[in-house]
Amino acid sequence: MNEEIKNTKDLELDIKNLVVEYRTPGGVTQALNGLDLEIEKGKTLGLVGETGAGKTTTGLSILQLIPDPPGVIVDGSIKLAGEDVMLKSEKEMEKIRGQQVSMIFQDPMTSLNPVMPVEDQIAEVIEMHELGEDGKPISHSAAILKAKEMLELVGIPGDRGTEFPHQFSGGMKQRVVIAIALACNPKLLIADEPTTALDVTIQAQVLEMMKGLREKYGTSMLMITHDLGIVAEICDTVSVIYAGRVIEHGTLEDVFDFTRHPYTEGLFNSLPDLDHRENRLKPIKGLMPDPTNLPKGCAFCPRCDYAMEICKTEKPPRVYRNDEHYVECFLYNEQNIKEGGLLGR
């Protein structure tokens, strides 16, 4: 493996060779197979992939929230601002969650407690993590005050804080979820498909708001999504994940304009082009591989139009196009990757 250590970067999140398995009586699901992920301070990384690629497992591993059993972290390291979270005790993790790292889940309908006013739900996080001015745990009234501020911040009038989740619409619930996640100014925000359940116009509102907040607080973000449009909108770097491995990674420009991996290319081709509506879609053939029984060589090989003999038996090495942009594919070597490779788009 290409072990390039970049000391120059100031990393908020640094995942190396993460292997996670779900061991059930039905078989071992290999959710992550040596995943590498880096997020620089204040930057946003888009983690792009399809159902079952291991996106959510990645998010949960960072918070050490993998359901165990059946989930087992087999190998690898996860560093948050230089500190290895795997060495932390459950007590220490509780401090980290919500304060240093927060997560927004896909479904705003189920991630709020239906019998608790929303401001209390926000205040709960604040009370858990923050100290008042006198150094003692923050008082409930002060926490409620801060909660109302948070609501205003995400665009909900503070006096609606006493209402219950069912009194809010989908978009507003997701705003509340974001307010909870941001209540303690986390250094890293993990957003797992935060807008998938929302309508486009509401999605635009929420994305706009998240962009604003990110700039205001300098929060790093891990944006888990399947939508390349959202990635183009909000991310600085992109990691494309397939069957638990990052198969292409680079800056937005690298991945969108100098696409190298056949899978990434396939994802782009699967999307209807707004400007050329008559173009026939070029879907990726076949289906996601069975994660309990991954192919021996490249996991994408059975669906790849460019597959060669070697792809069936060996894992492709990592080839760098520049300091940031890399691909795991046998089509490339150090030379041809810079020339535009074997694929033209």
Binding site: G27, G52, P291
Partner: protein, 302 residues
Amino acid sequence: MAKKKQTETVVMTANGEQVIKKQNLALETWRRLAKNWSAMVGLAIVIVLVLCAVFADVLYDYDTQVIKQNISNRLQAPSGEHPMGTDEVGRDVLARIVHGSRISLEIGLAANVFSLTVGGILGAIAGFYGHRVDNIIMRIMDVFLAIPGTLLAICIMAALGSSIFNLIIALAVSGTPGYARIVRGAVLPVRDMEYVEAARAIGCTNKRIIFKHVIPNSLAPVIVQATMHTATTILTIAGLSFLGLGISPPTPEWGSMLSAGRAYIRGYAYLTTFPGLTIMITILAFNLLGDGLRDALDPRLR
């Protein structure tokens, strides 16, 4: 998420296609049930009970061993000849328990089939059509539910007199609202599934939708209820007989044996111990089996 791996068996069809063999859904459920240790114990006991009931006549002759009084043998302690001793008129307790299982299971089964049919149809109609039909049926059921089941059975028995047939009627009536509720509850979510709408879209009649799409998919909770309710029914039979309202002597019945043995509990505790234990074990077995079925039929485990 990942589909669990299938053991795919390829077979040939009539027109020579190689196809994956049809998965037997009942067999799958059985496999899951078989993994459940306590359910298997429950099932084993239930099977023993059923065998006892079926072969009761082979084991003990009804006229000579079960109801014939034999005063010279009265109140003998358990021994090789009478494993559970003899009662106050010299009848073998084990023989009576074995024949008692026949009575309990027969009545339990008959009453359950009746409640299941009537309650099931009412519940399915209420759930499927909804609105006013639902309201009318379920409010009537609520009235029945407001009266404690045993009390209702006692009233019916007191009014109609105690006979096996009346007992079945009494138990069936008191069991019906429970089934109606369960079936309605099972039908409601299925009714709103898209495949029911899909069935309507392809031109299915209501009858076909109910029988082909709704009922097969709402059976699971009903099977569980049937198992659990059998336990309740057997307990009620014993309870009524204990009070003298159920099966009248000399017909062997666990509850009435318990009642008769009560007078001798100081000196001859086994007269109450064995029927009592039998009732307890039977109820426990049905409940274990019911719990196991509930887990095995749970669609989330599929």
